[in-house]
Symmetry: C2
Subunit: 172 residues, 2 copies
């Protein structure tokens, strides 16, 4: 349930796509994702560095809890996800339990597989272009992820630990 992830902002997704394909990246899919984030009735998730999210993608719905980040470089954290059949009722249940909608994040995500990694090319409405790396299994090394960014022509100095939600909230 550990999500070993790192993210970096990029100027040119097309250049990254070409670099991924040159390294033999396999195209996994492209989808629009609508993520609704919720505030907890008691805790301040901004302080505890947690998140609760309902994602709609390809007509399916996923409720996800994200725990606090575990290191200072990447956005690796514990994550638990469950698919739900009916987003309307799921949201109504959350609402009745005192959870409040904070913000919606919309993005187009293109996914590729490289050995041991998923690479996600995100265009986020109102924010710009980002690349996410997700290690599929095994130990993680922030250095290894920084090296993979470099191999893909991405400046590791542009690694970004803040979530899309946090980045959007800072712009408001």
């Amino acid at each position: 349930m550990l999500e070993i992830e790192a993210k970096a902002e990029v100027d040119d997704l097309e250049a990254v796509r070409e670099a991924v394909l040159r390294r033999g990246g396999a195209f996994l899919g492209r989808e629009v994702q609508r993520d609704v984030y919720f505030a907890h009735p008691k805790r301040d998730f901004a302080e505890t560095d947690e998140a609760l999210r309902m994602r709609e993608a390809g007509g399916r719905f996923f409720l996800t809890y994200k725990g606090p980040k575990l290191d200072r470089e990447t956005k690796t954290r514990e994550e638990f996800e469950v698919e739900v059949f009916d987003a309307g009722n799921a949201e109504e249940i959350l609402h009745r339990l005192g959870f409040r909608r904070v913000l919606e994040v919309r993005k187009t995500r293109e996914s590729y597989r490289l050995p041991g990694y998923r690479v996600m090319l995100d265009e986020v409405e109102g924010l710009g272009s980002f690349v996410e790396l997700e290690k599929e299994a095994g130990d993680y090394s922030p250095q290894e992820m920084a090296d993979l960014f470099k191999d893909l022509g991405i400046d590791p100095a542009r690694m970004e630990r803040r979530s899309y939600l946090e980045l959007l909230l800072e712009k408001i």
Copy 2:
């Protein structure tokens, strides 16, 4: 989303089953239900008369929120339910959000349909036998439900507004 329900304790489920069948009741099914109830991180559900439940029945999982009861005779209340694919992850998400397991209620439920109603014959572990009426649509009348109990040979004086959870907690 209004659950128009009433419940009564009975001594003899077999007699009720015969009365339901005599009135033309259609058998809908029989299943074992395992209900886990959760406590809210901030509210005392016993005070607010709400409930959050994860039900396992026939290999499927349902998360249900129940609002406060709306009258003094029946157990009619608002209810929102969503089917989830993975009860383990759903429970883990609840746990991380601060919800705590209170108790598990196990019962065998046999369901029948009478015009406008579902009739449930419940054998509840550690509690005994109960009959639940659930009106399928339309306005509700506590008197109409009491009359249907009488028609099925059940004493309306034995109507019970406390939930199985509450009854089990009182026995501890």
